[in-house]
Symmetry: C2
Subunit: 530 residues, 2 copies
Amino acid sequence: MDMLWSGWGDPARATPLPDSVTGLLRDLLGVKPRDTEQVALAEITVPEPALDAAALRDLADAVGGESHVRTDAEARVRHTRGKSTPDLLRIRAGDVESVPAAVVLPATHDDVLAVLRACAEHGLAAVPFGGGTSVVGGLSPELRRPFVALDLARMDGLLALDPVSRTATLQPGLRAPRAEALLAEHGFTLGHFPQSYEWATIGGFAAARSSGQASAGYGRFDEMVLGLTLATPAGTLDVGRAPRSAAGPDLRQLVLGSEGAFGVITSVTVRVRPVPETRVYEGWRFDSFEEGAAALRRLAQDGPRPTVLRLSDETETLIGLAQPDAIGSALSESAGCTAIAGYEGTEEDTAHRRERAAAVLRDCGGTWLGEEPGERWAHGRYSAPYLRDALLDAGAFAETLETAGFWSRLPELYAAVREALTTALTESGTPPLVMCHISHVYENGASLYFTVVSAQGDDPVAHWEPAKHAANEAILAAGGTISHHHGVGSDHRDWYVREAGPLGIHALQAVKRQLDPAGLLNPGILLPPD
Amino acid sequence: MDMLWSGWGDPARATPLPDSVTGLLRDLLGVKPRDTEQVALAEITVPEPALDAAALRDLADAVGGESHVRTDAEARVRHTRGKSTPDLLRIRAGDVESVPAAVVLPATHDDVLAVLRACAEHGLAAVPFGGGTSVVGGLSPELRRPFVALDLARMDGLLALDPVSRTATLQPGLRAPRAEALLAEHGFTLGHFPQSYEWATIGGFAAARSSGQASAGYGRFDEMVLGLTLATPAGTLDVGRAPRSAAGPDLRQLVLGSEGAFGVITSVTVRVRPVPETRVYEGWRFDSFEEGAAALRRLAQDGPRPTVLRLSDETETLIGLAQPDAIGSALSESAGCTAIAGYEGTEEDTAHRRERAAAVLRDCGGTWLGEEPGERWAHGRYSAPYLRDALLDAGAFAETLETAGFWSRLPELYAAVREALTTALTESGTPPLVMCHISHVYENGASLYFTVVSAQGDDPVAHWEPAKHAANEAILAAGGTISHHHGVGSDHRDWYVREAGPLGIHALQAVKRQLDPAGLLNPGILLPPD
């Protein structure tokens, strides 16, 4: 099934906002119904592909025939940009400035190498495409030359499973639910459940250092990866001979997060774990975000560690966004912050961790809300992007951004980003609701995930730009990282350059020159041109 | 206190072998008393330093005065090579081919930058020197030009402690016991206890990806590192803004394991943990290495995880090397393998983990041996290098090497390395004792640490070379990594090049060219010349 070209997910699952929410948006944020219709897919005109016959022939040869090179308008529109709110607003307006010249579908690692050779030969850029779910411009290269979308959908297999070592080798185009299904046949799970779970791919998780909602228990995706194969214009790079090694820098960690700038990830060997016997999610109430954050910190530092651990701030709790299915329903409840704690594993281990964690949470001021809020969260955990589509349809603007920092600076980071978003959007005449949650905890710090909802303004893309800019500046000033799990793409690149510093960027550019001397991979994504 | 120049550690702690062991070496391995005396430090003649007055002046200016640039013979001999057995045999024979031209002692990051500028100016190489404990030739550069030993001993402070985030920023020349003492004043521990603990430094741990004996509980050193500052010939690189990030490749993991080839680590920010309330170590007996390894695997994969977890094979158990203080005492016991399990933490957590782990170990065939073997191991945990000195003095050859691999291939790796060492040394006329233990476990694999003892042969350095070569070949052929925690240095470099592959090495050389364009840092260590 194809993703909705102009929004998120399965078109059959799109649901309009309830009238109560529409009223709320109008009364609270001044949201007015949109007065422009979105264009239809068939109405979008794309420029002729800038590929001559020789290029098309070489690309077709690279991937086993013409049927795996698509130049029709629909395929090209479906591979235009990703799924950030500005991406959706642009494509809904028929803006296909970033359209690929063709969509190329390799079936093997050698196909990918051949595609890269063909691109080098014909002066084309190449942009790897997995689930197409980037929200940071990871599919929006610089447009100095035409580019092909290198869609990895045909590379969607489980290549190897080692039940003794508990490792699995997966192809990059494998979507997460299919990966879980293949692993479940052997009794294993990857345990990686980001909000994009239903559509995102293994290669994308690795390329962008994804982190899932169960990261407290299963770790981040980059922590799961034991080996990678990378097809680069200079040849093949295989990394990861042992679980851990003192043989030089960890090259896995150079490939992870490289976002297609060094090469195309063609296989990923990951740690897998037994499918848990049991899963239970529950809600906890704290009087304030500060109190709840202290409780999360204590569990992250002293344990026991739940599998899922998240905390919504007062605004997110009030609005009920912690449970997208129930937006608005919590408005009448007293203030406070909802935390979700989830436990997965064996019956015995789960019961023990849950009991001990409950004692800690109570000791930190938490009140148990039962399993109902937890189950509601679990039920709606992949729904937020659908909700965003409905909000956009209703004339609202909705976008998210995220960061991470050390515990001691987290309050400052939280306040600075909220303030930046609120000030910028208020100055633009559309005072926003800014909500936040902590969804990934570490011994030394945590992530912050912000959701912003406001009226759209006359030009919603331009309208968001100063707010995003202000948030990025606030993140850097308050010691946060420009991205905890969305990645850099083209949207964060200029701030990433400041975060990594000149020597860090020069070192990565040196690697890129070595592996991709013609600079054909993802130009301008992650790294600025040399 | 200075390390023994010709061996390990505190000269006052050197103890000769008991007669029983000397007899054992003679009867079992044909070890004969040495017929050559080792040279005295005062007898060693070093060549005149190849530094002109301008170079010495610039180096002195870089580090705040002449008193911090040493060119006397003793200082230079003490900075010649590391502590591998061939290193010791060479220095004991008065071989100072690898002597530095001078020893330079910077006090600050800016001093280090200035030293690197002076080296570039005067065509000198620079070799960072921490504890001087490398066992892989990490202090033996190529000798095409003179080099200075960049001794970080003056940079030995605790720069910052963040009790909320539980992080500490340490200087590179800080020795581990002093780091623990400084952290303990604040109630924290690093939890990093490698065999070199008493002498090795924070910078060395980071540069070589050290792993300590309590890695099952505290993690490897590279897992503890949250940030680093690197002084390079091209300037300063600061990495690590957040505990975890999706902003590009993890540059920390590019610096970790870089062994001074990219720059000099001038500060390390690490995760710290509360000093444990309690520590308990105990022994377990398994019928075979295979059975014991299966038990370790189960704890590593399904938990609960002890803080220390190690298993000696039949030979190591028999010889009693698991407890260096008691070598030979176990010879009369029935065959089997001894495991050590240690628990550190709060009283409650330790008791719970210990009880559950005991059930697992019993279920896997283990027999509890009580705390005595555990306490004996803990008491002797840093003694093995002293024992090696005594063995060398007695005319025996003793050396160690280590690797790691995935669980499913570990039996093959174990057999292949044993076979390679045994065959090579037997062919050389000195059949060895080859012992092994697992001392670091992961969900997906484990380390193997081999100890080899044999008679010395006429030229002990040359005598070891074919065996080490055969072991390295066996490691690569059986899917292991050339080093789990000792590093690459110059000794493993040629195998590392094969392990990392041409593109991996080219990528790292590209980084080196960028950060160290004159190639003055550690030439030939880690990376081959371009």
